[in-house]
């Protein structure tokens, strides 16, 4: 974990008032950047990560030594072309990759904050990341983008700072977390909290770690990221390194083995308390309610160009919920584009190599950047 030292971060000194009522100050926000900020400082894109992401969107993540979570989309000549754009991505507060979160050491006890970390919201995450604009002296971002919880942050960002981004790309997300999604998150949290090593949220992370609970949470969540058709085509009823059923509870089926592997890989890189806090932030997200039941009001002061994308096989953040955002924007005459991309890869599509999706974003960003500069729009 010594690679943690290589991470970039800013210390946010000014107090930030959280939705829960608490105030935080002097806290770290870890970030990474790709590409170069141009002289006019008009080519910056702030990317928001999803539930289990981090600031390492591209290249090799120095902590996990794996490819960044959005490596398909961010990089030279990719959808977010780092030859042209300066991409910034921060670890959300509540996360576990260097930003202020439950793993942060409490100076009073010299132990991780654990469950003493305040409950945070999507709004809090966005307000913290907004400080990056000051840090880089960027007056206005070219774009804000993100999928899933990243998309929720995009919506919250434009609502909070209506004229700080020229383009907004909320992908596979919602303006209001559904009962079904709260239910799945609750399942994950209960799995973690019923692990004996959770220790009421005050596990030390060394001797005690609620790995089993966190792995189950990940396994359950992982199913929701895929589609039935995708699973059937990839795994079907194939058996795992055996020719017949073993009449036991081993992983007979490939899908079982796959899920167990996903669970075990996840616990190496993620903190169980972070999982609790971030899923809670998603559940609390209701931009419609924040604006008195009228989502349009969230965007009424904004001149931002929106491009909303959903996926046909995404049943976690289905097209209908993405379309609600489009409808709210059209109701106030906002500049909005929307497309539903056809794919069997489920909610995970936004993280995967879906050429249609990636090329449309790439062309949209490049053309829009040119058009804005030519003042055509």
């Amino acid at each position: 974990m010594s690679n943690f030292d290589k991470m970039k971060s800013i210390i946010i000194k000014q107090p930030l008032k959280l939705d829960c009522g608490k105030e935080i100050s002097n806290f770290p926000l870890a970030y990474e950047t790709y590409g170069n900020l141009n002289e006019k400082k008009d080519n910056a894109i702030l990317i928001f990560h999803a539930l289990t992401g981090d600031q390492f969107a591209s290249d090799i993540n120095p902590v996990t030594n794996k490819e960044g979570w959005w490596n398909y989309a961010v990089g030279p000549d990719k959808a977010f072309d780092t030859k042209k754009f300066f991409v910034i991505c921060a670890n959300v507060i509540g996360g576990c990759m260097g930003s202020y979160g439950p793993r942060t050491i409490d100076p009073l006890t010299n132990k991780p904050l654990g469950i003493n970390f305040p409950v945070i919201t999507i709004n809090d995450m966005v307000n913290a990341q907004y400080k990056l604009l000051d840090h880089f002296k960027i007056e206005k971002l070219f774009a804000v983008a993100g999928g899933s919880m990243g998309g929720m942050q995009v919506l919250q960002f434009v609502s909070n700072f209506p004229n700080k981004a020229k383009v907004a790309l909320p992908i596979a997300c919602t303006a209001s977390h559904s009962a079904q999604n709260i239910a799945f998150n609750e399942l994950g949290r209960q799995a973690i909290m019923s692990d004996i090593n959770w220790k009421d949220g005050l596990y030390d992370g060394k001797t005690f770690n609620p790995d089993k609970g966190l792995a189950v949470a990940r396994m359950a969540a992982h199913i929701t990221y895929l589609s039935k058709k995708g699973l059937q085509e990839k795994f079907g009823r194939n058996l795992q390194e055996r020719s017949d059923l073993k009449f036991s509870f081993d992983a007979d089926f490939q899908i079982e083995s796959y899920l167990r592997y996903q669970g075990s890989m996840f616990v190496d890189r993620f903190d169980a308390n972070s999982y609790l806090y971030i899923t809670r932030a998603m559940d609390y997200f209701d931009l419609t309610k924040q604006h008195g039941g009228n989502l349009s009001k969230a965007f009424k002061d904004s001149k931002t160009k929106f491009f909303i994308i959903s996926f046909t096989s995404d049943w976690l953040y289905p097209t209908s919920e993405n379309k609600d955002i489009v409808i709210a924007l059209n109701a106030i005459g906002a500049d909005v584009g929307f497309v539903e991309i056809k794919t069997d890869k489920g909610h995970d599509s936004f993280l995967l190599d879906v050429p249609d999706f990636l090329s449309t974003i790439k062309n949209y960003l490049n053309t829009t950047y040119l058009n804005i500069n030519e003042r055509r729009i």
Partner: protein, 198 residues
């Protein structure tokens, strides 16, 4: 095609807010952006075409005019354009009603089924006509509700829709259609362009 765009463009005031319903791959939108300073949006049912529009930076929403016009508030656009698409809807009457709700003015262009070539085809061959503007066979045509310029003219009158202008397009030639030359123009026009208001 270009002639149609020119006529449409001339009907639109500068600095207007425009919605192109069934915008296809966005060529009319591009034309209007180039030739008029307009704030323009598109609605298109085909994913492929929507992706093409978005790739060109156009503000186009994937959707179906029969269901998705609902989301636009009353009179939210100065002009709503429906170019050669009316005949493809299940319920053209409802679509027109919605267009007139959303737009202060509505421009509808109609491939004319009353053109003499169409009539000759049906009269002498006894087969459903296939022309430049109507290139499909009867069994695979997306055109469910073909009409003539005269049909649409009568429709507007019967429904109390105000027709501001009707323009005939025949090859490169444009001309005005009036109630007195309607029968003749219905015979020689390939395309009818209507400027309407509720």
């Amino acid at each position: 095609m270009k002639e149609e765009f020119k006529v449409i463009s001339e009907l639109i005031d500068e600095k207007s807010r425009v919605l192109d319903v069934g915008c296809g791959d966005g060529i009319l939108m591009e034309y209007l952006l180039k030739n008029k300073v307009v704030d323009i949006r598109g609605l298109e049912i085909s994913k492929e075409k929507v992706k093409k529009c978005l790739s060109n930076g156009l503000a186009v929403v994937e959707g179906d005019a029969e269901n998705d016009l609902k989301q636009f508030p009353d009179l939210s656009f100065d002009y709503v354009i429906l170019s050669q698409t009316l005949q493809a809807f299940m319920s053209p009457e409802n679509v027109i009603k919605n267009l007139l709700r959303v737009g202060k003015k509505v421009i509808v262009t109609i491939p004319n089924f009353g053109h003499w070539k169409v009539r000759v085809d049906l009269l002498f061959k006894g087969e459903m006509p296939i022309t430049k503007n109507l290139p499909y066979e009867w069994y695979n045509t997306p055109n469910l509700h073909m009409c003539t310029i005269q049909d649409f003219y009568n429709f507007c009158n019967n429904k109390g829709i105000n027709i501001f202008q009707t323009i005939s397009l025949n090859g490169q030639k444009t001309s005005k259609i009036t109630s007195s030359n309607l029968k003749f123009k219905n015979l020689i026009s390939e395309l009818g362009i209507f400027l309407l208001e509720k």
